[in-house]
Symmetry: C2
Subunit: 335 residues, 2 copies
């Protein structure tokens, strides 16, 4: 009942193959037939059947997107939504569709991937997070299936496609900004050391200190959880041993906890910075300076990287996205 390539062919008085070639803009089709076919397509309101096309081409022009379901905190912040928007923006431009799926745990993720790949639904996969020894990554590597991850892989980082923030630079900027304002005794509260981001951000902190010829005090560095409570405790612990004049953190949640601790200790002149620029940061009092990680750009570049690497291997295989330090009240006190 729906209009197919044959109907168009009949109307234009050519064979289906010719119509197909017109669609594909094949070089050796005469302008005359091209016009006739185009006209027929218009008249019949013809749209190619994407399924049939996929079957013939062995390519669906569809990307799979795996979203974690477990992490309540992360779901609350708009990170994933922004990533998805970015992905969608590029994909649409490139003529790709996006299939998404939430998965509760790693096992289910792998199962989902297995299904998606074997059923031939997706040309490539986007992973929005990466763990240590990520089983999804292993699986995809084993299957030789194209994929990109958002975050930096621990192993085989040069073979895998990935995009990430320039976390080291990001923290460097934060610390530099504080130093420029006159702060010297700057503490660092991070998430667990196992997470690559923590280590990269710590490196940026160290680099900035070095650049300004400030000593690095390992005892001013605390690494705990990504929670408000951890931030609170870490701040108390830091000040129990030393009187600092600024604290940088690797996450807004941590900063919230630290802010609470500072308030309780009456240290209202200590500068404080968060990370990831969650909405709540600007609702705190004082408002908390934070780092915008440009989630939408991460998504956009991830999609771009994957798609450009689909057919042929491109030489560009990863992408570092610059962050932006958003200065608010919390980093402008003291000094």
């Amino acid at each position: 009942m729906p209009v197919t390539i044959k109907d168009v062919a009949k109307m234009a008085g050519v064979s289906p193959s010719t119509v197909s070639r017109v669609i594909a803009d094949h070089p050796k089709i005469s302008q005359a037939t091209k016009d006739r076919v185009t006209e027929a397509m218009e008249a019949l309101q013809y749209r190619p059947n994407a399924i049939a096309r996929s079957l013939a081409n062995q390519s669906t022009k569809t990307l799979g997107l795996l979203l974690p379901n477990n992490d309540e905190d992360l779901l609350q912040n708009p990170f994933y939504v922004q990533v998805m928007r970015g992905i969608s923006r590029y994909a649409q431009k490139a003529g790709y569709y996006i299939l998404y799926s939430y998965t509760d745990h790693e096992e289910q993720e792998v199962k989902m991937l297995d299904e998606l790949l074997h059923s031939k639904w997706v040309d490539g996969v986007i992973l929005t997070t990466i763990r240590e020894n990520d089983r999804c990554v292993e699986f995809l590597r084993a299957k030789q299936h194209p994929f990109v991850v958002i975050g930096t892989p621990e192993d085989h980082a040069d073979e895998i496609l990935w995009v990430d923030n320039n976390n080291s630079n990001a923290m460097y900027d934060v610390v530099a900004s504080l130093v420029e304002k006159g702060h010297r005794r700057i503490g660092f509260i991070g998430g667990p050391h196992e997470f690559a981001v923590t280590r990269y951000r710590l490196r940026g902190y160290q680099k900035a200190l070095a650049h300004y010829d400030l000593p690095y005090h390992p005892e001013w560095v605390v690494e705990k959880d990504y929670t408000e409570k951890a931030g609170y405790e870490a701040a108390l612990a830091l000040f129990a041993q030393e009187d600092l004049d600024a604290i940088v953190t690797t996450d807004d949640l941590i900063a919230f906890g630290a802010q609470k601790a500072l308030k309780e200790m009456g240290k209202t002149q200590v500068a404080l910075t968060g990370f990831n620029n969650t909405i709540l940061a600007e609702y705190k009092s004082p408002t908390i300076s934070s780092v915008d990680i440009k989630a939408e750009a991460l998504g956009y570049e991830a999609a771009k990287l994957l798609i450009t690497n689909l057919g042929k291997q491109s030489e560009v295989r990863h992408c570092l996205i610059d962050t932006e330090f958003i200065e608010r009240e919390s980093s402008c006190v003291g000094k």
Copy 2:
């Protein structure tokens, strides 16, 4: 290169059709062959090619999801993420995939739909919002293509599949709770009257008053925008004419504005409630009572409704989701 139905057939010593029938669990296949085929499938790690299957079946087992891109406020709140989770949960259970797309404006939405439908990519569509005279709805109705909307359509509500909150009941519960606490003079601040939700919630407010034999004062009802500023001004306006002892609102943003106004006027004993239970509500001081609209359930039921109506028409064609009033500090002051 990948294993197809023919390989399985060859290995099991049967014809491809038989394998196909085994997959479809066709009744008249002997247990013996069924076992042999199953064994072969296992051995070869066979997975049906979903594309080929879709072509033959004229069905992709895929749903399209349209997400608005314009509304910054809405994107900030986790509503859409939760809806997507709900959709994904049911879809996965039912063996469906979800294709999503962000669109900037109505025109682009319709274009996207047109493409999605004509290219035969999706069996059905989920719309996450609905406007007055929604062109997407018109389009889908005209094409006779299955779809479900989240929200209540103004026209043809009985023909269209939709899920929505029971907004009237929701506001009824809020007001009832306030009355039970002893409040009598309760003001109402809503969004624009054009929005169906505003009207439904107002109705719930009126019903509750009636139920408790309280008079309805039209002058205690203000309908403005869904903004903090509008809430602030509305609260000032209400108190300029009358001294109320509680205010209910149809959105947290409005409540934030109202809270600010109340603070400035020193009316700390006036109870206040929000709606939609955004994260910020629990970060305000005092924390704001709000209504959880169960976004995930909305998504889940939308997917369910659509999928169960795909082949045959089911008799169930809409679904009202109950909300939950989350009591916090703001509604427990006074009286």
